[in-house]
């Protein structure tokens, strides 16, 4: 088969990859684009809910001695806000972008493990419901997004609020680990022919590195929350000082995960920025190698500086000095990335559409967060500013400035690919100025509040403290940013029907996703693209180089070698299945049961085993390359 697909073959290919219609198709799909879209819609809803919580808290703090929230309600609000934003929004949304984009950027029809991706989403949804359904009936975790024992232990947190929080984490982390293995395997083994390591787009690198970091960091938080549940449920003594346990052990394990998590969120954002900058500068990214090496450097350093979250614990001074140096060192790779992006824009001939605006807003905002991070890396200075509003300002600058602003830019950038229509530039610019302006107005004063002595997680303060005016400004700014968020969502909603038609490549992008129609068909690519550079769509201007030969009458993908991406074999790709949903349900039963009785681990394993056997029971057509007799 060395000719392009005939129309009939193309139709058969499309049918092979098509989902069943209706609800059954919805429940069984393994299409990475549908799964990612689900993630993103869930995240948008959660961001709205958690944003409303934030606004509620800001109103409570706008004036001194406000009585509109009780301390219990306030504590629940920040706990739910933080847990949602960190565990259910930031990390999952970056995974969602990987699930959606990585196969498209690699010219593939599917992820390495399509059913695993479906499982990841269902399990993530289980985590979302684990936190928000109890909240709806009034059982809300109330001890922050990291629940330090003994406060969260059996002695001080009766009831199930803390268990719900801990098990919600287990849900989302299992989902995230599964997604990461999926993405990493896809990047290693399913690159298009010709995409050697040196030709991997920066975004794909960023997701592969973030996936590896996830694999080595998330087990820590699963372990530590399981230990917490065990302390609460079966009276283990991990964190009980009277029985040889140690509450600080919790902090070590939590931050072993917690710090890399920040970079797991930030690296994909740096990937978005790199892609947007390249496209809108109209030149190849300056310093590709430097940017990728910086990402690897950040990933390596990330595992050597968790103690900087614990400078006020009173650990030995020599340790503090080491972690200060290691933490500050992150400024070097991060600073190099900033240089490369600005240099690309400087030497290019940029067009300033909204995606690029978000990148500029990102640079102006994120660098403040990076520099306040350098301050917080200094052990003595951190012992003044940690647990104050300075830190609240710092991590919002890093997470919103460093991850959410690029994410919004990425959303505008790939929206036409996903929907076939462009977002409104006018509404887009309005949303940009409201969000970036409102955010900076709202969060910059918090640096000052922290230095003026305002601790975080206080539900009120007295007038005499002098924190009133700055808090009022902070509330005002947050409200403006929330309004901007609503404009952004309205724009996305409106443009779905009324935006200008985009065509396959509205921005003149350089990577493979722009070669397919918008929105892409379920099988993404008719033919397998072949890559000859970092920017294949720019170097293959006249015609795209492709290979043929994958089956059209069944689902098949090409597997290539890890380093050189030379074709190795054709892998059958699994059909839609209900097993991932059932497996996720079985895991959900097991997880929820195990906050009430340890025996859930035993009886819960039965339906889980059944679901997994149904999932993996090989029923796809058998591949028999060699004769089936005996063989060498």
């Amino acid at each position: 088969m060395t000719a392009p697909l005939t129309p009939e073959q193309a139709d058969r290919l499309a049918v092979s990859w098509r989902d069943a219609p209706g609800l059954w198709g919805f429940l069984t799909t393994v299409d990475h684009k549908r799964i990612a879209a689900r993630y993103i819609l869930t995240v948008v809803l959660l961001m709205f809910l958690a944003g409303m919580l934030a606004l509620d808290m800001r109103l409570q703090l706008a004036w001194p001695d406000m009585g509109r929230m009780t301390p219990q309600l306030y504590n629940e609000s920040f706990s739910l806000h933080g847990s949602t934003m960190l565990f259910l929004v930031s990390v999952p949304v970056m995974e969602a972008m990987a699930i959606w984009l990585v196969p498209l950027m690699l010219g593939q029809r599917a992820l390495a493990f399509p059913r695993l991706a479906a499982f990841s989403y269902w399990l993530y949804l289980g985590g979302v419901l684990m936190l928000w359904v109890p909240h709806a009936v009034g059982i809300t975790p109330d001890l922050g997004w990291f629940e330090y024992p003994p406060l969260s232990g059996p002695g001080y947190a009766p009831g199930h609020r803390a268990d719900i929080w801990a098990q919600m984490i287990t849900f989302t982390e299992v989902a995230a680990l599964a997604a990461s293995v999926n993405v990493v395997a896809t990047v290693l083994k399913m690159r298009p022919p010709g995409m050697t390591l040196a030709r991997i787009p920066v975004f794909v690198w960023s997701q592969a590195i973030a996936g590896l970091m996830t694999i080595f960091s998330l087990p820590a938080v699963m372990l530590v929350t399981s230990m917490l549940i065990a302390d609460r449920l079966v009276s283990t003594q991990f964190f009980a000082p009277a029985a040889g346990g140690d509450p600080i052990l919790f902090q070590h394990l939590f931050w072993w995960f917690g710090h890399p998590e920040v970079y797991i969120i930030f690296l994909p954002a740096a990937g978005f920025v790199s892609m947007i900058v390249e496209t809108f500068s109209r030149r190849t990214l300056f310093g590709h190698v430097a940017v990728v090496l910086s990402m690897l450097g950040i990933a390596a350093l990330a595992f050597g500086l968790w103690v900087h979250h614990m400078f006020a614990v009173g650990l030995p001074r020599l340790g503090n000095d080491f972690y200060t140096a290691a933490s500050m060192a992150v400024a070097l790779p991060a600073g190099l990335q900033i240089f490369c992006w600005i240099a690309t824009l400087w030497s290019g001939r940029p067009r300033f559409d909204t995606p690029l605006l978000w990148v500029l807003g990102f640079i102006a905002t994120f660098v403040i967060g990076g520099l306040s991070g350098v301050m917080a890396a200094s052990a003595p200075l951190d012992q003044q500013i940690t647990d104050t509003y300075f830190i609240v300002a710092h991590f919002h600058y890093v997470l919103i400035g460093g991850a959410i602003l690029p994410l919004l830019g990425a959303f505008c950038y790939w929206y036409p690919k996903a929907t076939g229509r462009l977002m409104s530039e006018r509404l887009g610019k309005l949303a940009f100025w409201l969000i970036v302006g409102g955010f900076n107005l709202g969060f910059f004063p918090m640096h000052l509040l922290g230095l003026m002595g305002m601790p975080r997680r206080v539900y009120t303060y007295s007038e005499g403290m002098g924190w009133g005016p700055l808090n009022l400004v902070a509330t005002l700014g947050s409200a403006i940013a929330v309004a901007g968020g609503l404009v952004f969502v309205a724009n996305a909603w409106w443009s779905r029907r009324h935006g200008a038609l985009a065509g396959p490549d509205p921005w003149g992008g350089s990577t493979l996703e722009w070669a397919v129609p918008s929105p892409p068909p379920q099988h993404n690519f008719d033919h397998l693209p072949v890559v000859d550079s970092l920017t294949p769509l720019w170097t293959q201007k006249e015609a795209l180089q492709v290979m043929t030969g994958l089956a059209v009458e069944r689902r098949e993908v090409l597997v290539t070698s890890v380093i050189e991406a030379t074709p190795e074999y054709r892998q059958k790709s699994p059909k839609p299945s209900i097993a991932p949903l059932f497996s996720a349900l079985a895991v959900t039963i097991l997880f929820i049961g195990s906050i009430f009785t340890p025996w859930a681990l035993v009886w819960g394993a039965v339906p889980l085993a059944a679901a997994l056997i149904a999932w993996f029971w090989p029923q796809r057509e058998r591949a028999t390359t060699g004769p089936l007799a005996v063989r060498r």
Partner: protein, 205 residues
Amino acid sequence: MSDARPCTIVGDVSGLPESASGAKHLVWWGNIGFMAIEGTAFALAAGTYLYLMSQTHGWPPAGIRPPDLFWPAILTLGLLLSELPNLWVRRRAIAKDERGVRFGTLGMTIFGLVLLIPRALEFAHLNVHWTDNAYGSVLWMLIILHTSHLITDIGDTAVQAVWLFTHEVGDDQFADVEDNANYWTFVVLSWLPIGALIYLAPRLG
């Protein structure tokens, strides 16, 4: 539907095989990914053990005997011996020997089930309860963590054996048997440091 861009055909992959074995196979990498996750969990759990040990005077705490050595010695020996048939099954899978993998996985299932006997007896000779103190808690955590992996892989092997005996075996299934054998090796190897911690650290510390 066709691609939006015109294209030039530069090659054809229809001649490539439909499956592969070892590190060429996609699923091999998924397997490695999950081993990395679980290996990290083992390492962090071991780190927890060492951390608590460093925070405590006397290990095990006064009045507690270290766990008995007899049954774990049997188990460790059994695990190491199980590598002989395990590696044989792995070779049979690579050689695409249908009979070999059928009886091999069956044998490995039985071997694994037998190994659960010394493991069960081990629990009875830890000489500490998980509620007694942090030492007891972390000891039980390590051994439960390992046991859950042991049981999972025996279950996996059993299901595989059932499938292999009831179906014609294809290339992908040979690759699955190979991956499962690799996973068993991971379970065996991960026991060595964990077992050393549980049984030797209280005697040295």
